[in-house]
């Protein structure tokens, strides 16, 4: 048990500086970074051993379709949280985007999609302006549209659920390509795109810099306000897209219930995935894994005939565990 005696494996350029795998297991930051993947692996292993009809292509297709909208919203949320912010309005934005769809479908699919996505962008721009230009706390800034956004959606839809009959839009929800549903493709491609954005673009580095230390970023001459508005606009557009896809799958635009509690699912996925709530780092793959973990966990419990209540309590425990691992270790 002398970890320092072993030569460093050097294949990882990430924080674990300690030598042996054993010592790495004792390093709390290792769990923060990789814990979610281990947890997903454990859940999958458990199901492979103990759950019938779980490790099937059909089941995975179902799970992935269900998790896709959460992943899409969580990707935007991860960017926002990376700037030390939070966006409570994503559920309302989904409802708003869904409410716009039937109003403009008469002009064709593309105009309807554009208007819906634009609605999400406007919500994001308002959030971003309140955070960056007015200087409100993100919780307050986005709380207003959380409260007002769904009301606006209901007002526009006359408080009614509207059936969607446009076949092009419906095919977005039900269609598949190479045996994989379109929504899963979209979520996957977006995840890759956001990962690229974070790791390979100037904007991505600016997001991380602004989240890490805003005043330092401002002093370094970074366009802090533009970056903040940018992440909220991206988050709004992604939420609107998730609203469109969910509407297509439900074959109805339901502004009263679409996206409720989505902000919580998205924040959970981001945090469980290892992105710290105090900003300065964005874990895109971790976010996807976090969403997947919550989904698989729920599915596992349901397949073992445990009720929804147990799933919720288990999710609560996992969130606490994830944050406990990620908590600040300064003694205050």
């Amino acid at each position: 048990m002398t970890p320092t005696a072993v030569a460093p494996p050097a294949k990882s350029d990430k924080p674990p500086k300690s030598a042996s795998p054993l010592a790495r297991l004792r390093d709390p930051s290792w769990y923060q970074r990789y814990g979610v993947y281990v947890a997903v692996a454990v859940v999958l292993l458990f199901n492979a051993l103990f759950t019938e009809h779980f490790m099937t292509a059909d089941n995975f297709r179902t799970q992935l379709v269900q998790v896709a909208p959460i992943v899409i919203v969580a990707l935007g949320m991860a960017l926002v949280i990376g700037t030390e912010g939070v966006d409570l309005s994503v559920g309302s934005t989904m409802a708003l985007a869904a409410a716009f769809l039937p109003l403009y479908l008469g002009y064709g699919l593309v105009p309807a999609l554009v208007v819906s996505l634009l609605a999400g962008a406007v919500v994001g721009a308002v959030n971003g302006a309140l955070v960056s230009l007015v200087g409100l706390q993100p919780i307050v800034a986005t709380l207003a549209l959380f409260v007002g956004g769904r009301g606006l959606a209901l007002v526009m839809a006359d408080g009614q659920l509207k059936q969607i009959v446009n076949p092009d839009l419906l095919s977005l929800g039900t269609g598949s390509f190479l045996g994989i549903p379109l929504v899963v493709w979209i979520a996957g491609i977006l995840a890759v795109a956001v990962a690229f954005l974070v790791q390979r673009t100037t904007f991505g580095r600016q997001v991380v810099a602004v989240g890490g230390n805003r005043s330092a970023a401002a002093l370094a001459g970074l366009p802090v306000k533009r970056v903040l508005i940018g992440v909220y606009v991206i988050c709004g557009i992604l939420a609107a897209l998730a609203g469109i896809l969910a509407t297509a799958r439900l074959t109805a635009s339901d502004p009263s219930s679409l996206g409720t509690l989505m902000e919580l699912s998205a924040i959970t996925a981001v945090v469980v995935g290892g992105t710290p709530l105090n900003g300065g780092s964005v874990r895109v793959l971790g976010t996807v894994a976090g969403a997947l973990l919550m989904q698989l966990l729920r599915a596992t419990l349901v397949k073992h005939d445990l009720p929804d209540s147990t799933a919720q309590i288990a999710q609560a425990a996992i969130i606490i565990a994830a944050v406990y691992v990620a908590r600040e270790r300064r003694s205050r």
Partner: protein, 346 residues
């Protein structure tokens, strides 16, 4: 129920996150005083304006019956928002109150078959326990309030579902039970929940203003580190505040169950955000360190009056309520922000 004075007891110059909460010294000019007054009493002014205007436009609004209806509706949110105000003053947030409210109601309705005391105490014990758990994780575990209470939001609703066979069972409060009377009885036509809410607000105002615990709250919210350096019991204060928030949410849920004669499982969704809205509209800063109990009361009443007015107008559907509430929230917080800025710039 006067305005509270933030951290007047603090001997050291507290490097508050919101500098100059109350700028002391002779340089407080007239403009400053107006800004300060607006920030403190702006909500009350808006509330009074809306109420007076509405009384002229809608004769039915000004009736005593309507006042009773509005206030009883508001009383449950008020009790929850009272706890939220204290949590927010310490710089925290409690997202679990909506679930805890619903849980408290279900437990109270279930326990009411065993008598009045059981129906009142059991929800308080359970909900206080959840609050205590929040406080311990936040204060001792150094975890972010936002995410801890988000987890207990899920957990409490899970517990609620487990208690009600996944929402299939609704527990009824036995007819003629003393507990039911607590929700339906009244003093001069005003229901007990209103009286209880007012008493709690009075007590809360006194605690915040006149006790060292209250001043510790402001100090902790102003700067947790500075409060620690001053030797204040920061962790204990935080634990107590979250426990109180859980207790109050549970009590409000129990009162609601007594009023409805049943433990309804679908209540309380989104209530945490209503409570936060009311607190913020009432002038309490979300960064902590400054705020007032009375402001929260006016904030709750303003939200309730808006809802009532939209019902009175009739031609507007109820969806407008959240649009107007959201709009109010934006206007108030933006105004607060500029008022705070104009005061700081001197």
């Amino acid at each position: 129920m006067n305005e509270t004075k933030p951290v007047t007891a603090a001997p050291a110059p507290v490097p508050a996150k919101t500098p100059a909460v109350r700028p002391a010294g002779p340089q407080r000019t007239g403009r400053l005083r107006v800004a300060e007054l607006l920030q403190r009493q702006g909500v009350l002014a808006v509330l009074l304006t809306v109420v007076i205007a509405a009384s002229f436009i809608y004769p039915t609004f000004a009736s005593l019956d309507n006042a009773r209806g509005v206030t009883i509706q508001a009383s449950f949110l008020a009790v929850v928002a009272l706890g939220m105000t204290m949590v927010i003053i310490t710089g925290g947030i409690d997202l679990s109150v909506g679930s805890v409210f619903a849980l408290g109601g279900v437990i109270a309705a279930w326990a009411s078959q065993y008598g009045f005391l059981a129906a009142l105490l059991l929800p308080l014990v359970v909900c206080g326990g959840i609050g205590l758990l929040n406080g311990l994780l936040i204060a001792r575990g150094n975890m972010a309030p936002f995410i801890v209470t988000l987890a207990t939001l899920l957990g409490a609703r899970g517990l609620l579902l487990a208690l009600t066979d996944e929402g299939a069972t609704t527990y009824l409060v036995p007819k003629d039970s003393a507990f039911g009377e607590l929700g339906q009885g009244s003093v001069w036509g005003f229901g007990y929940p209103i009286v209880i809410a007012l008493v709690l607000f009075g007590a809360g105002g006194l605690v915040l203003q006149r006790t060292s615990f209250g001043q510790t709250l402001f100090a902790v919210g102003g700067s947790s580190d500075a409060a620690t350096l001053m030797g204040l019991p920061v962790a204990r204060t935080k634990i107590l505040v979250y426990t109180l928030s859980g207790l109050l949410a549970g009590l409000a849920g129990a009162l609601n169950a007594a009023r409805l004669s049943s433990g309804v499982t679908i209540v309380g969704v989104g209530m945490e955000l209503d409570a936060i809205s009311a607190v913020v509209i009432g002038g309490t800063l979300l960064v902590g360190g400054a705020g007032s109990i009375s402001g929260t009361l006016w904030g709750v009443l303003l939200l309730a009056v808006i809802q009532n007015l939209i019902n009175q107008i009739g031609s507007l559907n109820s969806s407008y309520q959240s649009v107007v509430s959201g709009g109010f929230l934006v206007v108030v917080v933006v105004a607060q922000r500029y008022l705070a800025r104009s005061r700081r710039s001197t």
